[in-house]
Symmetry: C2
Subunit: 229 residues, 2 copies
């Protein structure tokens, strides 16, 4: 929630308060990152609009993964435990971070949640952020990779309209591609073009959690990233 937020009004929230906020967060994020590296766990910050399919993609990974991928997750939500419930039902150890009214996760919330997981047993740790295409992009959580889920139903112009989120993304999952035939001319090439204008190194994976299309390429990329990390 931005009830306490000084967005665009530096006269009201002093500069030193802004700096203190980010520096406190970055200190904890560094601590989280050290944890992940120490335990050889590749951590992802999975972001995207509400309903962009973040949880569905993780469920699909759970169903697709072989015994050689060990994955856990925390799901940030204003209210309800639904996402973590869905992930646990799919066989992914998962906990909820209930943010109440906060519009994003911060490093301290993730740090507290990490105590519930045995990182030594994991290959990947997914931090499923609050559904929001703006605020989560700003906060370092200690992740190795930023991944943004963008559903084809949201429209081809979203990368241009929310550039901060996509500029900082290591990869974009273009989700719900099974719906493309019903969207009246919306096409993957237009998403690619828009993403190429904002991402320094465009990396786009068109996927469908429903049909499984595209998941292999995405999982292969994840595996490669972990080997290189």
């Amino acid at each position: 929630m931005c009830q306490e937020c000084g967005c665009g009004d530096p006269e009201i929230v002093p500069v030193e308060v802004h700096e203190r906020l980010l520096s406190a967060n970055d200190r904890v994020a560094r601590h989280n990152r050290a944890h992940f590296v120490e335990h050889d766990v590749l951590a992802l910050n999975l972001m995207g609009s509400p309903g962009s399919g973040k949880t569905a993609i993780l469920e699909a990974i759970a169903h697709a993964r072989g015994a050689n991928r060990k994955l856990a997750a925390v799901s940030g939500d204003l209210a309800t435990d639904r996402d973590a419930q869905r992930l646990r039902a799919a066989g992914i150890p998962a906990a909820t971070i209930t943010t109440g009214s906060a519009c994003h996760l911060d490093a301290e919330m993730v740090h507290k949640a990490l105590h519930d997981f045995a990182l030594d047993d994991l290959d990947f740790f997914v931090i499923e952020n609050v559904g929001n295409l703006v605020c989560p992009a700003i906060y370092d959580l200690g992740q190795a990779l930023n991944v943004v889920a963008l559903s084809v139903t949201e429209g081809e112009d979203k990368p241009l309209k929310y550039p901060v989120m996509f500029r900082n993304a290591d990869a974009v999952l273009l989700t719900k591609i099974d719906l493309l035939p019903h969207l009246g001319g919306v096409c993957i090439r237009n998403f690619d073009d828009a993403l190429a204008r904002v991402m320094p190194q465009p990396r786009v994976f068109p996927v469908s959690a429903r049909t499984g299309e595209g998941l292999d390429r995405w999982l292969q990329w994840l595996d490669e990233k972990r080997i290189r990390a």
Copy 2:
């Protein structure tokens, strides 16, 4: 952007700073509201996730409205002038509020934008907020009504997961209902049930900007609200 935001960390952003922020915003919101009332204009704060169909619904209204409805709009966006361009192309006088990195509109941004409009010539003024299902719910802009666009592709659980937004809504536009046959069992009744659990007085309009379905009821409700205002 919540770079300057004290979300969930009252130890870092002092309480008096939070209060100063909201009180400064509310003062300008009262001023905006007085403007709207004085000119007999019904002002809507139209909110919703990125890609929930806010602009498309306004375009559809433009095509559906008779000569007896005079409408103008401002569109809040981090970047680009695309939404206002689309609205102007549909015949709606419209301006853009570019927020840069801010995750919501505030009353001062709207106040500045109002100077570009001749309110005397209008019946309705739509403030199309930044695509975000969290932060915009908190800031009073001087509107008479809060309207939330929720697309059926976002999932039936969104009202429960983002309760602050829906609790404060006077009406919900359930958009993109033409896609329901392709969503594998997603149905309007489940949205109704979820909304009834969070909205004090549920008022839901299932609509499709593409087919025009449901727009009549929504426009009739708007007309009635204006007469009563």
